[in-house]
Symmetry: C3
Amino acid sequence: MSADDALDPDRLLPAEDRTRGIARELYALVADAPIVSPHGHVDPRLLLDDRPYADPAGLLVSSDHYVTRLLHAAGVPLDDLLGSARPREVWRVFCDHWHWFHGTASGFWLRETLAAVLGVRAAPTPDLFDGLVEALAQPRLRPRALFESFAIEVLATTDDPLDDLGVHDALRDDPAFGGRVIPTFRPDAYLDPAAPGWSDRIERLGASDHAGYLDALRARRAHFIEHGAVSADHGVEHAVTVELDPGTAQSLFERARAGRLDAAEAALFRAHMLFESARMSVDDGLVMTVHAGVQRNHHRQTLAHFGPDTGHDIPVATSFTENLRPLLERFGTAKDFHLVLFAIDESVWSRELAPLAGFYPSVFIGAPWWFLDAPDSIARFRSATTETAGFYRGSGFIDDTRAFMSVAARHAVSRRVDSGFLARQVVEGRMTVAEASRVAIDLVGAIPRRAFKL
Amino acid sequence: MSADDALDPDRLLPAEDRTRGIARELYALVADAPIVSPHGHVDPRLLLDDRPYADPAGLLVSSDHYVTRLLHAAGVPLDDLLGSARPREVWRVFCDHWHWFHGTASGFWLRETLAAVLGVRAAPTPDLFDGLVEALAQPRLRPRALFESFAIEVLATTDDPLDDLGVHDALRDDPAFGGRVIPTFRPDAYLDPAAPGWSDRIERLGASDHAGYLDALRARRAHFIEHGAVSADHGVEHAVTVELDPGTAQSLFERARAGRLDAAEAALFRAHMLFESARMSVDDGLVMTVHAGVQRNHHRQTLAHFGPDTGHDIPVATSFTENLRPLLERFGTAKDFHLVLFAIDESVWSRELAPLAGFYPSVFIGAPWWFLDAPDSIARFRSATTETAGFYRGSGFIDDTRAFMSVAARHAVSRRVDSGFLARQVVEGRMTVAEASRVAIDLVGAIPRRAFKL
Amino acid sequence: MSADDALDPDRLLPAEDRTRGIARELYALVADAPIVSPHGHVDPRLLLDDRPYADPAGLLVSSDHYVTRLLHAAGVPLDDLLGSARPREVWRVFCDHWHWFHGTASGFWLRETLAAVLGVRAAPTPDLFDGLVEALAQPRLRPRALFESFAIEVLATTDDPLDDLGVHDALRDDPAFGGRVIPTFRPDAYLDPAAPGWSDRIERLGASDHAGYLDALRARRAHFIEHGAVSADHGVEHAVTVELDPGTAQSLFERARAGRLDAAEAALFRAHMLFESARMSVDDGLVMTVHAGVQRNHHRQTLAHFGPDTGHDIPVATSFTENLRPLLERFGTAKDFHLVLFAIDESVWSRELAPLAGFYPSVFIGAPWWFLDAPDSIARFRSATTETAGFYRGSGFIDDTRAFMSVAARHAVSRRVDSGFLARQVVEGRMTVAEASRVAIDLVGAIPRRAFKL
């Protein structure tokens, strides 16, 4: 890669010649394969409205908390990046701090997006701003055109249980748009009695007792299923599960509605509802995904001024073996139950996730997530999980992004790194080229389609 | 490696030319070295009876819970693999799922065994079944012939404390068998009052009080030592240790016999007995090995239907620094005391095991164990422990297997990966070829012999 | 590297040709850059006195607990290495155990020091002893000459809060010495009421109540700042922090002075004082460094006979996310506050340190520390932290050593490994050579200078 070329065709492939040659062959098999994106945070309105992006600062900086967090760490106040900050000024600040992104996943996606989508093959500079504003007005850079040029086969959004999914309806009914965009049921705020506004939400669900509460959740899941949802997503700090008898559950529910749960009881209620969510998935077939091990909104003042998803959700040590035991003893071998476990504490990859997925047919190892969906991290993930569980017990890659324009770049990173990993297996005599080719193809097709019932 | 050749002579060696060349030289020094196998689970009756293996399904699939667990994870009920399942059908199912093993340690051992031992150099297929049945009838594939062709110098089994070791006697006294097969004292079920049947076992030990219980254990250890045992093996979920005064110990023992210990008291008793086991090792010289950090029989229903060792023992986070402190303060520098610590939570390799073994002369770092005795895992282990503790504070490789036919393949994996690791040290100017050669040779000879007092 | 040449110019650079070529170019940019050493344990008297080293055993073995611990692990009693042990005999024992250091960080530094400083390019032998005694008498091997030949720009020592810093004064005022040697405020023994002698120390501080205690600490910090200190260093087993109201603090202080705190109260007091130390750093500008996660003096008998820092400080599992939350909520975005977090549990690198430093402008990721400042460990550190936090949120390399003669070798290791890491980034198309060059240069200059306000 030279300073004027961010698009080395061999980028992210292993350095050694023979390995790189095989990796190149493997990557060629999947470089243009359709994108299966079963978990992410793209706003469906973006595709419904199909408005051009207004400017590069809003597109690449302000709307991406992976980027703003690192600028904040570099000393730029969030006030200068969010809200009423002037886009031209945001862009200038971003360009000034370009080297802070060297070596980061965000930096790589930005390079890829700038080069492959926007034609900017060198470091971004303030004087590019006007040109980029102009470029973004082109029809080929509007969301729907990108959806097509990215070859997205299916894109899942993440939605509130009480969302009427009208945007999804409108998008599906729009004759001018042929893509498949499906909702995902994300009930966290309805399952955690300690979440601000929980009681109001339960009120809106129309639940007067615990049985009614479960019924209302089931009804909303059915609504999502009718609208094409294939999964229900759970974000928890710890994936604790417990089975409660109905009397205890009802009693906790009443105290929760009255705002009288202490911290231990709230945790018990959450563990119970994670267990009940698994039961619902067994019954209605929604794939259950669990994103565990993050302490949300670590910096209270930033939350107060700028809201959630502003870069200070910080991981903690995680465990699944003991925490999920009640759930897995009950549902681990249930027919057609799929439980995808995403971890951000990489010590659990070889210790817990691969062994669990190496026994339970229901358990799928979630792809490296959040801070870890980056080249070296993905390579560590493959190394840590494959020897115990193989390739076929994983979820396939998940882009998990709000940044729609980076979707293709993220999947490309995963495909390149997996090609390199497989090429090494071949060079080390562990698989044949034919076997590695099949795995490479399955990793972007059969594997995520099976895991997410697509 | 091409589709018709699973035996690339350079398999598992690093890709880069110069490194591979040196690795090849180092591997040549140890490729044919005798196998020292100081810890494993081969049934000694296999060698006493020396019967031919009946069929490839029983040999390679049904009897290996590493393989059946992954087929189970792929959706095959254990009923179709174990017990009365028809071998030809088991073999067909296994062949159909061959790609599920790509990239796994089990897949690699199966390849090696199929190719090197059985002459099958391509993916296994159902139509090979009859040919393999025929092949297995050959004298050269009977257990004793394999013992010789594998060049096994010593093979340790794992045995119940009350085993009379008659099978070992008969094997030793058989003039037709010249191999060294030694028992290992494995007292877990006698040390954990929460283990089903503990009280009956204590009854059979003939112990009426705590002092008698300790004496009976000492006597059984002496019996094992007379029969050639060199080590006592301890499998624990957490390696907690504590020194109790005799009165407290006696009182706990009485309550345990009466079945009246609560969970905390049972844990205290286990911790006490791990401490006392160290004292016994100091006294009688048996090497103490500890395999820590696994939650056994995670899925109760599978345990109920299929028994233990059926693929659902799942690791948990482990710590040694604090847990072993009482034991190490008391015995850590005791003359000739050897304590080999096996971990399956790889975060402890650099954090705890290497620092402990880098100070205490008694502590040896156990080789990567269970899910982790695979090529990438072994490389991670070397990287994590060597910079702190060097090569000479490890146990040497442990195959830990029931699958006798894979013993040679497992040791070969370790030797190849270590050769690659050492070759990198040379290419990076950290060791000379002469130094690396000495280490390579010691790793398969002097090091395990010293650690296990062989 | 051949047996007679420990100084392969490409040592520690990646094996693959193209990567090595780029790494060599990058390393050339920084090989001779001045050494910034903002944290270490060199005794300033060494430079004040500037006496020649007496013999190689005292220099390379007895005074380095990294070396004596491994000899102890190899079975050599500490009595044979420390105190009144005869240097010639110590040297002989060390030479006999040379292979125990193969692959270790200490072994590499010893090789480097022997070869580059002392001209010994082969394995050390007993017969070298007299020659080395002679060599060490040369003026060019006296501490001040080494300070100059190592090109040390600044060297920080670690000092007791009540140290009058007279040695630093004398050194600064010595017209024959032009180097910059600065003290570091290390108050652990004054902040932990469970530390032996705490109450006496508080007495010597002249503090009669909690407010006076805080004032006295502030006064000592001011004294250190006047003498050039830029940081205050905190070594804790767990980095727990808590804000207490003055009444509670005063009450705990009184009970601590009376020796009446239980373990939980002592922990609370330590957590409070870590919090207060951050407040002081915000106020007076001293960079706050935290070395967390080590259980000191694991083997009580060795402590009793040989004192602290004798090789048996053992790491434990660490967490920062929850523990530092009170501190970071209060001071995490405070102007000019710098908090450098050193971990020895590498699972926190990607899980906690990089995410924290990727948001909080105050948090800097401490370089790999203690057992982990070795080639492979540094490479793992870069891989684990860079994708989340980039290169510019780190502290730069810290040699953390008492072994002054190894300072240059340690910094060289870091520079070589970072060059290799950056070269791989280039070969994988993730950075340009120009970008990597800037990062390489900043890593040894701008980055540590900024982190430590130098």
